[in-house]
Amino acid sequence: MAIGVKVMKRPSDEVSYIRATLKGMALTFKHMFQARVTMEYPEAKSTDDWRIATRWRGTHRMMTDEQGRSKCVACGLCPQVCPANCIKLVPGEDEKGHRYPLIYEIDEFRCVFCGYCQEVCPEEAIHVGVHYENAEYSRDRFVYDLERLQAQTHPVSTLWDPADPRGQ
């Protein structure tokens, strides 16, 4: 038995690719005049209506005094409060009798970025930073020593403010 083939006859204006192309291009070109919702990340890091929250908690920064020494007095509260146990601190005394950290190291791999260290610090020395670009070529570079913590320049976190819970 011969196979019967039914040929559908559609109106040419319905099946024309020209029409579909124009429709698609219209949508594309329409976006050129709309507000931009993305950012070209490595070149642009913030836009007018979006930037990283000031209460962001990223890699640490140690604040220094006018003489460039760290403000830390090695009181031992941050290693005590740290839930991840990532802060190593050995206190010492300088020739003037000031207490200061001989060793201050933060293992950023272990850190859970809770910000308790900043919250507990009585000298406002250690801070979590508004910073997220931490790539390194080796793992051991993720243990930040005192020199490295002092050399950081990024802004520091405001933490969560109960008076301004939504960070506005």
Partner: protein, 521 residues
Amino acid sequence: MSDELVSVTIDGLPLQVPEGTMIIEAAKQAGVLVPHYCYHPSLPSPAVCRMCLVEVEKAPKLMPSCVTAVAEGQVVHINSPAAKSARQGVLEFLLINHPLDCPICDQAGECELQDFVFQEGRSGSRYDDYPKRYAPVEDFGTDVLYVPNRCILCTRCVRFMEDVAQDGVLEVYQRGDRSYIGMEPAHKLEHPWSGNVVDLCPVGSLISKDFLHRARAWDLDKTASVCPGCTQGCNMTVDTRDSTVVRLRPRPNLDVNRHFMCDAGRADYRWMNRGDRVEAPLHQDGGKLHACDWDTALDEMAALIRASDGSVVLLASGRAPCEALGWTMRLAGNNVRAAAIKVPIGPEAPIGAIPNLALRAERAPNLDGARMLGVSTDWLAAINAVKGAELVIVLDAELDDADIAALSGATHLIHFATAVEPRLAHADFVVPIATMAEEQGVFVNRDNRAQRFLPAKSAPGMARSAWWVASQVWRRGGEGRRAPGTASEAFGSLAPFDGLTYRDLGLGGRVVATSPAGAAR
């Protein structure tokens, strides 16, 4: 103080206490701590700090509870609004000049000012306009630093030196808010018990140079122990941080050392942190000492002892606890030709006002325990007996050159050692044992008081307690012998302590009778 009991009510709790008890002590029995600074149970009370003021019904004013004796029918309110506001006022006055340097203060975490201000102090000061008094840090000599800024003038240190040490070098100078604790320029804080002022100081004004910045109070693990310094046997607390001993402090025991401990005892902890420890049993193999496992070492030692059934000499350290001495003696059995502990001798240093408390001349904590266990103190006789003895057991003794020379002639030598001793490389066995900071044990002090000490840190490598090693070797020496499983059992199975357990001793110790054995029970 008589035996008459009086009834008082403290914060609503009816209580019967002996007549003449001060309210502050009665309150302790009621489970209430009256905040205080100048009062200390081992010092006379001057009632200068005004911190312990309590409300006593029918009394016209608040009473200082440290010098007010209880009376029949007295009703005391410690936490009434009047008493609380008085304490809050005292705290506010103290904080006028006290610096808020808790982050760098060694006392933070165990500071009574910090505790009480946190507990019931005002949230702010009304004296912010005035600059705080400032004076530089002073070196008081020996181990004590004085930080005048932090001083709250409780005068505990002055009274300790004056009334307890009876060497009144500390005085309060000037008056009013210019007062400070000082010394005549010719004087120094040199009394052998002067380190106690550091513990007595309720704040961080008198601090230890040795402990300065070493650890924060909350980093420390505290273990009850007994000082191994002399035959006095002061109770102490071993403070460790990360398994390193950083400080020794007195532990109150009214029958032995009250609240005090001498400077020599405090400073004597560095040997507990030694790094050159023996960590595995060593036996002779091909003319040299080689490490082996415990089973090999124990079996070979048992074989050596069985084969040599001759005369045995035991040379022990004065720090060896009863368990170690008793079980090595039992291991030697009836063949003991001589057994002695080495007793270093030093100058005696009494504290002054407290009878029967001194740094004793015999610097061996277990002298009387050794005597009870049949170990003599005649070291020379024991050394002379080495020649001709078949087996010498050295129990961690501190050996000088003459001792080493004598030991070179020993036929067989088993060295129970904590630290490596290259001069005894000819020993048949070197057995790694724990120090007193790493094991449980008992010292018997000069008043026949058996006192326990607890392990403060872990022993290095394969090191075990000496009693465990000795009892395991002993068990291999004959049929039907059972080695003790615990230190308490090892202690109780020794003849002079017949059946006593650690639980019987408690942490305050217990006087054991010298003879007959078992009478202490």
